[in-house]
Subunit: 324 residues, 2 copies
């Protein structure tokens, strides 16, 4: 598949494939969060999808664009979480077989969710990279489609949530987006550039997984082994196509610590009654840490996903006993 | 205001007032919950509203129907939670003043949420009944509108979520609805009767607050002092108008224990990544406790609201250490 990047027109074209199976998510203004952060906070609730994360939009567009032969051979991908659930969901509604490689010690809850969507889940390799290389070979040998996390059609599908933001709020000053592979922040950049060039898009990541941020700053690929509980942004290797888009459009790329992400998860529970996974809470952590920069502005936080396990939630609540 | 009950036509007429300010909520199918319960489980996510509960729909319809004089005098109500937030939200978007009486020891989080919506919150009385009687007098003296929790226009507004259920899933076998004052279960009954008379509507309540259920069974008002952590259903006194609708339409009215409600909150966190308040988890607790009755059926659970405090969440997680 191509590694070009999609245009705003491609994103508009993606809408019909996305809305065949999912509904728009709300963009909510929260007065209490706004008071906490010192700016006007709007949350884009991509955690409200049935599979709990924005990625489902991309999978639907990718699946809709397959040839008959590709549909027959099925989809092959590797994932430890939301990407796999997204591909499994899209494959299921399109009647396509999905094979998803996961590392040997993958999170059992996420494996179970993929299997509930009828995906074949195969444990292989010690880590994500080993699982990915193995399933890529499997795809090649059988003529099936191997899907990486930043394909053009995935970015186009994800862009539909960004259009929804501007439909509700046409003039945000900032959109803060968590960065894993980069499909989401690139989609936000492409849409903002087309719809409202005054809107600044900010990428954000855990300081425990700064590969994409360091690569963006340096203008060349830098690999850093990730060490963060927020698996949605635990990317050790930058992706060439999303780096290219980020270098063109991104206003800034900020880091926050895991303790700040955990505190943001508790603020979201308390003030919005929303369960967020680590990645989803990074935009709020960013708005709080760099508050002077956002003071008095209209700030959209992309709550990318809600797939936090109860075990992790317990640990976070235990560590932050003092907060209500 | 009238205490007649609304027709399906009234509920259709309510749509334009509701959708001016809120968007439809999703009805999601959950494979893992379905496996747990032994039936096909769909969840109506009324917790996804910005104020976190279904009641916002009713407040919007009520506010839209006020006369110029009533708008001028403002809205008066009593609440310890979601009803007050709903009235505060509706008043704010319609530019009307809201005065909300709460008991002296009201939950500070919910008081803060109402104040963030610019409502005047007045602490008065030891319990809800004392607060209510006091604010009712205030309304009378100033010519303002006193709003009880089961007004006809509130039921009509709430009915819009039930229409949304049938738009996505036209043939549910059961809709299980938590009962506090009864506006929601009455709306569900009126809509189901009109759109699909094969659909059975089941009311459900905590066994610690069985006044509405006992009144329904006995065919006459029975008061029972409530003792449940699920404040959304902690109703000690039945309401005449909703009892009348329930007696006409309701298929059954079931009780579950608070421990079962707490377990359902954890299942929802684990399998849907959703924070539910006590009332919102009652339908799942009901599907699990009475599982033989629902086996193999299409069952819609109305997740009425998500406004659980972090303090309560901690306590529930601490008590159910064994569950994932």
């Amino acid at each position: 598949m191509s590694l070009q990047y999609p245009t705003i027109t491609d994103i508009y074209a993606a809408r019909k494939h996305v809305y065949q199976y999912v509904t728009p998510t709300p963009l909510h203004y929260y007065a209490d969060l706004s008071r906490l952060a010192g700016c006007d906070i709007w949350v884009k609730h991509e955690n409200h999808h049935a599979v709990g994360a924005f990625k489902v939009r991309g999978g639907l567009v990718l699946a809709a664009g397959l040839s008959a032969g590709e549909r027959q051979a099925g989809l092959f991908t590797a994932s430890t979480g939301n990407h796999g659930q997204s591909i499994a969901f899209a494959a299921k509604v399109h009647g396509i077989k999905a094979r998803i490689a996961v590392p040997e010690k993958a999170n059992p809850g996420k494996v179970s969710a993929m299997r509930s969507l009828d995906a074949e889940v195969i444990h292989h390799g010690k880590n994500f990279d080993e699982a990915r290389e193995w399933i890529r070979q499997q795809a090649e040998e059988s003529g099936g489609c191997f899907i990486g996390p930043t394909e053009e059609s995935l970015i186009a599908g994800v862009g539909t949530y960004v259009l929804e933001i501007f439909e509700t709020l046409p003039d945000p000053d900032y959109i803060i987006v968590p960065v894993g592979g980069g499909s989401s922040v690139c989609a936000a950049s492409i849409v903002a550039h087309a719809i409202n060039p005054e809107t600044k898009v900010i990428g954000a990541q855990s300081s425990g997984a700064p590969a994409a941020q360091q690569s963006w700053k340096a203008g060349k690929p830098i690999e850093v082994a990730p060490n963060t509980f927020a698996e949605g942004v635990a990317t050790g290797v930058p992706f060439e196509n999303t780096q290219r888009i980020m270098r063109k459009y991104l206003n800034d790329f900020l880091l926050v610590d895991d303790a700040e992400i955990e505190a943001a998860i508790i603020h979201l529970l308390h003030l919005t009654h929303t369960l967020s996974e680590g990645a989803g809470a990074i935009p709020l952590a960013t708005a709080l840490r760099y508050r002077e920069r956002f003071r008095g502005k209209k700030v959209v936080l992309v709550l990318s996903g809600g797939n936090l396990s109860v075990a992790k939630l317990r640990r976070i609540l235990d560590r932050h006993r003092q907060q209500q």
